[in-house]
């Protein structure tokens, strides 16, 4: 609040400093009152230019032909009514603060005026308050304009984003067709070449063919991965209650072979039910578990999956005893195509965790890793708790929270 008042002061000084006149439209039938108001404002530090009208018609003409900073209006004159004036300003889309400067009004009327959009209400026997009321009104107007500008910019950004999404979608389609077809030619025919001339070429030539096949295949996987990544954003994702224990079970089933081959030991706690897209959630679990097995150290992988409730969210953790990640790289691992190891050390394209992050963020959660190099990693992601609560219980909860 104090900060707000300081800004108001600063704004008024700015207006003043620029030497700009405060242009006021007064609706007033008493010459004496007009003079009182003028002198009060000049005394309050304003350099004034003003027009005075007495009827609704004159008022309408004035607001159309001149631009005013502020309207100071009596509430009731024979040919004038404050409420109608507010209505007219709103209808015409004119954002000019209107301050009622009036004799005592019934409380209910004053409140109605403020509700209808009057900026303030100043009693004629308290005119000393008028300068600060004007400053606040001007300040509020400026904030309104800034907000409108920001909203407009936001709308533009959203539109731009939608357009670039459409372009990405188109790119994904082109990638899936036009790139894959010729690439398939390269891959299959170099393989056919190798098959046909096996044993007839020298070792060098076989190695070159191997490089060519390998390169083409890697590019195929890259395109597939890129498509998978872009699909996460494009799919219309329906969220439904999902039992994470079932998801974990499916993930483990799909990793059976890797688990057996690595001799991994997996333990897990009971997991909750969440609102999620089940196939995407399965992808997150599978990717994290596959990584926990892949990036193992010299010991057999020991992996623990757990979940705990923290305030409004569930935090799921996958803890391993693998090679870990140096702290300076902890953020990098979630960036698409970022890899920390060579392909010969650990295969992969650096897409899995990028997809995990995209999915988790789409579900309104966060994902991060805590790790020490050589000491294992713990990947944690959060999902909001969205229990279907009966209406009455929901209401009780709100009241409880408020209390």
């Amino acid at each position: 609040m104090i900060a707000g008042e300081l800004i108001v002061e600063a704004e008024a000084q700015k207006l003043h400093a620029k030497g700009e006149k405060l242009s006021v439209l007064m609706v007033e039938d008493s010459v004496a009152d007009t003079e009182l108001i003028r002198s009060e404002l000049e005394h309050g530090g304003f350099d004034l230019s003003s027009e005075v009208v007495q009827t609704a018609e004159e008022f309408a003409r004035q607001v159309h032909s001149n631009s005013f900073h502020v309207v100071l209006a009596d509430f009731n004159l024979p040919q004038w009514n404050g409420m109608e004036a507010l209505e007219l300003l709103r209808r015409e889309g004119l954002d000019i603060p209107l301050i009622l400067v009036s004799g005592a009004l019934p409380d209910i009327t004053a409140v109605d005026c403020i509700k209808q959009g009057a900026a303030d209400y100043v009693l004629k026997d308290r005119l000393a308050r008028l300068p600060s009321a004007i400053r606040s009104a001007l300040q509020e107007k400026q904030l309104r304009e800034e907000r409108k500008r920001a909203e407009h910019e936001l709308a533009q950004k959203v539109e731009e984003l939608a357009r670039s999404n459409r372009e990405l979608e188109h790119f994904a389609y082109v990638a899936s067709h036009d790139l894959q077809e010729p690439l398939r030619m390269v891959a299959t025919y170099t393989q056919l070449l190798a098959e046909r001339y096996r044993g007839k070429l020298d070792a060098q030539a076989e190695k070159y063919i191997h490089y060519a096949v390998d390169g083409a295949k890697r590019m195929q996987t890259l395109i597939q991965d890129l498509l998978a990544f872009s699909r996460v954003g494009r799919q219309d994702t329906t969220f439904a209650p999902v039992d994470c224990n079932l998801i974990l079970h499916q993930a483990l089933e799909s990793l059976q072979l890797a688990i057996r081959e690595s001799g991994a030991v997996l333990t897990y706690a009971r997991l909750p039910e969440v609102m999620a897209n089940s196939s995407q959630l399965l992808q997150v679990f599978s990717n994290l578990l596959a990584n926990a097995i892949k990036f193992r150290g010299s010991d057999k992988p020991n992996i623990h999956i757990s979940a705990e409730r923290q305030a409004g969210e569930f935090a799921f953790s996958v803890r391993d005893n693998g090679i870990g990640i140096a702290s300076e790289n902890a953020q990098d691992v979630f960036v698409i195509f970022r890899r920390l190891h060579t392909r010969t050390e650990y295969p992969g394209n650096g897409i899995g965790l990028a997809i995990c992050r995209k999915i988790v963020e789409q579900h309104g959660g966060k994902i991060w890793v805590t790790s020490r190099e050589g000491r294992g990693s713990t990947f944690t992601f959060t999902l909001p708790v969205t229990e279907p609560v009966p209406a009455a219980q929901e209401k009780f909860k709100q009241e409880y929270v408020q209390a």
């Binding site: 067709h177 299959t188 393989q191 098959e195 195929q220």
Partner: protein, 145 residues
């Protein structure tokens, strides 16, 4: 012995070669014909012009992106033609796009197989097509009509 007739419709000579070669690898007797665009495909099926004496295929492997007449249009025409629509069509395309798959089924494709980008998998896919359609399924053959 039943000697199946297969029609390959593909504008890519490399794919025609590869598919024919894989089909020729096993001992099952068969006849493989090929055309390279959609107009030719329909001409072949309707025995028009130079195709007057061609046999009715038992199975069609159809690529989607074809010149002159698109594979989707061929699919739609064949499946709307009372004389042709019984012939099973396997769409055989590079595309894995959901839209292409769904559209093909909607137009009446009997099956949709993506051309794998790896030779052993390609061989397996073609063999699997052959084994299923000629070793397992019962086809609406001409002499049975």
């Amino acid at each position: 012995m039943f000697k199946p007739e297969i029609l390959l419709v593909d504008d890519n000579p490399a794919d025609l070669d590869l598919t024919s070669e894989v089909l020729a690898r096993n001992e099952r007797p068969k006849r493989v014909s090929s055309v390279m665009n959609g107009v030719e495909a329909l001409g072949f099926l309707r025995h028009e012009g130079k195709y007057a004496d061609t046999p009715d295929p038992d199975l069609i492997l159809l690529d989607l992106n074809l010149p002159r007449k698109d594979g989707r249009a061929v699919l739609a025409e064949v499946k709307a033609d009372p004389l042709l629509r019984r012939t099973p069509i396997v769409v055989f395309s590079t595309s894995q796009a959901e839209f292409d798959i769904m559209q093909s089924y909607n137009l009446g494709a009997n099956s949709y197989v993506t051309k794998p980008g790896d030779l052993p998998e390609f061989v397996q896919a073609v063999e699997s097509i052959e084994n299923f359609w000629f070793g397992c399924a019962r086809l609406p053959r001409k002499e049975e009509q």
